[in-house]
C-alpha cells in the first residue's frame, strides 16, 4: 500500500517535471525558429568582412563558367540580391544575403573574376585545388567572412540550455511513466 502511494507521488512529480521541461524545450524551439526566420542566426554567421573586396551571394554565381560568365552589378547595396556585388573593406558589416567575398587580389589577377565595363565578371566560381596532398573544391562561399563572436556565445549557450532542457524533459517522461531509474550500486559484490 505504502509502495503504491510512493509510486503515485513519484509519478505526479514526474508529470510536473515533464510539463515544466516540455514547456521550456518548446519555448527554446520557438525561440530558435523565430531567430532563424528573422535572420538572426544568418546575421551571426555572415557578420563582417575580413578582407577588402566585393561582397557577393555565392549561390547566384554558382553556375557561371568561362564561356558563360556571370556579370554582377556593382553598387553600395544594403542587401545583395542575385547578380549584385557590394564593395566592402575589412571590418565593414556585410550587406544582407552576402555569403562570401571576392577579394581585390583575385579581381586584380583577373583569372577567376575581373572588372569588366563597370560590372564584376565572374568566370570560375569554383575550382579544384590541392593543398598538402589533399584535393578540395575552392569556392567564394564563406570566403573573407567573419562571424559574430557573440553569435558563437549565443549558439553554444543555446545548445547547452537546449540539451539540459531536453535531458530533464526525458527524465520527467520516464518518471511519469513510472520507470524508477535508480542509482547504480557500483561497489556491491566482488569488484
Amino acid at each position: 500500500m505504502a509502495e503504491a502511494v510512493d509510486m503515485r507521488k513519484f509519478r505526479i512529480r514526474g508529470v510536473i517535471k515533464f510539463l515544466i521541461w516540455t514547456t521550456a524545450s518548446g519555448a527554446l524551439i520557438v525561440f530558435f525558429w523565430v531567430s532563424y526566420f528573422n535572420g538572426t542566426i544568418y546575421r551571426h554567421y555572415y557578420y563582417k568582412a575580413n578582407m577588402d573586396g566585393y561582397a557577393i551571394n555565392a549561390f547566384a554565381i554558382a553556375h557561371a563558367t568561362k564561356d558563360t560568365p556571370a556579370f554582377l552589378k556593382i553598387g553600395p547595396f544594403e542587401s545583395v540580391e542575385g547578380l549584385q556585388a557590394a564593395p566592402v573593406k575589412k571590418g565593414d558589416r556585410l550587406p544582407g544575403n552576402a555569403t562570401g567575398i571576392i577579394s581585390k587580389k583575385i579581381v586584380g589577377e583577373g583569372k577567376r573574376a575581373a572588372l569588366h565595363e563597370g560590372t564584376l565578371k565572374v568566370m570560375i566560381p569554383k575550382e579544384i585545388r590541392e593543398a598538402r596532398g589533399v584535393r578540395f573544391i575552392d569556392t567564394f562561399k564563406h570566403k573573407g567572412v567573419e562571424t559574430n563572436p557573440w553569435g558563437a556565445v549565443w549558439s553554444v549557450a543555446f545548445i547547452l540550455f537546449f540539451g539540459a532542457s531536453l535531458g530533464l524533459m526525458a527524465e520527467g517522461f520516464t518518471d511519469m511513466m513510472g520507470l524508477k531509474i535508480k542509482k547504480i550500486k557500483h561497489y556491491e559484490g566482488v569488484h
Binding site: F32, Y36, I41, Y42, Y45, A58, F59, T99, R132, G133, V134, R135, F136, K141, H142, V145, E146, T147, P149, G151, A152, V153, S155, V156, F158, I159, L160, F162, G163, A164, L166, G167, L168, A170, E171, T174, I181, K182, K183, I184, K185, H186, Y187, E188, G189, V190, H191
Partner: protein, 356 residues
Amino acid sequence: MFEFAIAGIQAPIFLLMITGFTVGIVGGFIGVGGGYMVTPALIVFGFPGYMASGIDIMHIAGKSVVATVRHRQLGNIDWILGLAMVGGTMMGVEMGVRILNWTKALGLSAIALLTGSVVIMLGLFIYTQIETRRAHKRIDEISEAGVTVGRELKATRFSDFWQSIKIYPIVRCHVARIIISLWVIVFVGVCTGVLAGFFGVGGGFIRVPALVYVIGATTHIAVGTDLLEIVVSAGYGGLRHFMSGNVDMVAVFWMILGAMVGAQFGSIATAFVRGPAIRYILAYSLGLAVVGAFFRLIYLLTGQQYMFLNLFAVVFTLGEMLFLCLFIGSLVLFAVQYRRGKWVPAWIPALVVKED
C-alpha cells in the same frame, strides 16, 4: 529535403536525426562524443568537410548534456574527478591544436593525423580487448564458485601505481572511491586533451580508457564523468568552430533532436550491464574506427588515386554506427531476457546484471 542555407546544401532531415540517434546511443553507452563517426557521415550527406566537423562538435556538446543529465540520475558522475580534470583537458586541447598547426606548417597534418590515430586506436583496442577478455573470464570463474560479482571487474592493477603517487594536493573522489593526487588527474587531462586537440575530436575514446586504467574509476563512472568533460571540451570546440564559420546551427538542431532520444537509450542501457560489456563495445568501436582510418591513410598515401579505398573508409565508419547500435540493443535485450529467467547465450551472464 531541407535547405541548409549556411552550409549551402540540401539534405533530408531524417538522415540527420537518424545519425544523431545512433551516435546518441553509442555515445550515451560508452561515453564518447562520436566525432570520428559523425563527421564522415555528414560529408556523405553533402556537407563540406569543415562544416561537418563544426556541426559535429556543436551537436556533441548538446548531446553530451542530455546524456550527462541521465548519467547523473544513474549516479555515474564523479563531479570532483570531472571538474578536477577539466583544467588539464582544456590546456591539453590547446596544446594539441598547436601541435596540429605545427605539423600543418611542415605539410604533414593529414598523414600525421591518420597515422597517429591508427597507432593510438590500435594500441587501445588491443589493450582493452585483452584486459576485458581476462575480466570476462574471471567473472565466469567467480560466478561458477557461487560468489556474487559486482558491476565492475578489472584484470589490471595499473591504476594502483598512479594512485600511489603522493604529491599534494591529494583529492578524494567520493563517487569513484578514489584517493589520488590532483596532479595525476591534471596530467591525464593534459595527455588526453593533447590527443583530443590534435585529432580534433572530443577525446572520449581516449579519456574513458584513461579514467578506467590510469585513474582507476569503474567503467560506468568513467563513462558518466567523461560525458561531463565532453560538455566542456565540445562546448569550447563549438565556440572556436563557430567563430571560424564552420557551424550550421539548423543542422545541429535536427541532430540534437535525434541524439536526445538515442542518448536516453544509451545511458539507460548502462544500468543493464557490467563494466566489461561497456569496455567490449568501446574496444570494438576503436577497432572498427582503426579499419576506417587505415583505408583513408592508404588512400592519402597513394595520392588519392584509388577512390574505392575512400569508399571503404566511409562504409566502415557508417557500418560501425549500425553495428554498435545493434550490439548495444542486443545486450539490453539479452539482459532483459536474463532477468526474466529466459535462455541467453553462454557469454551473456558475465556481461549483464541480473538485478540492481
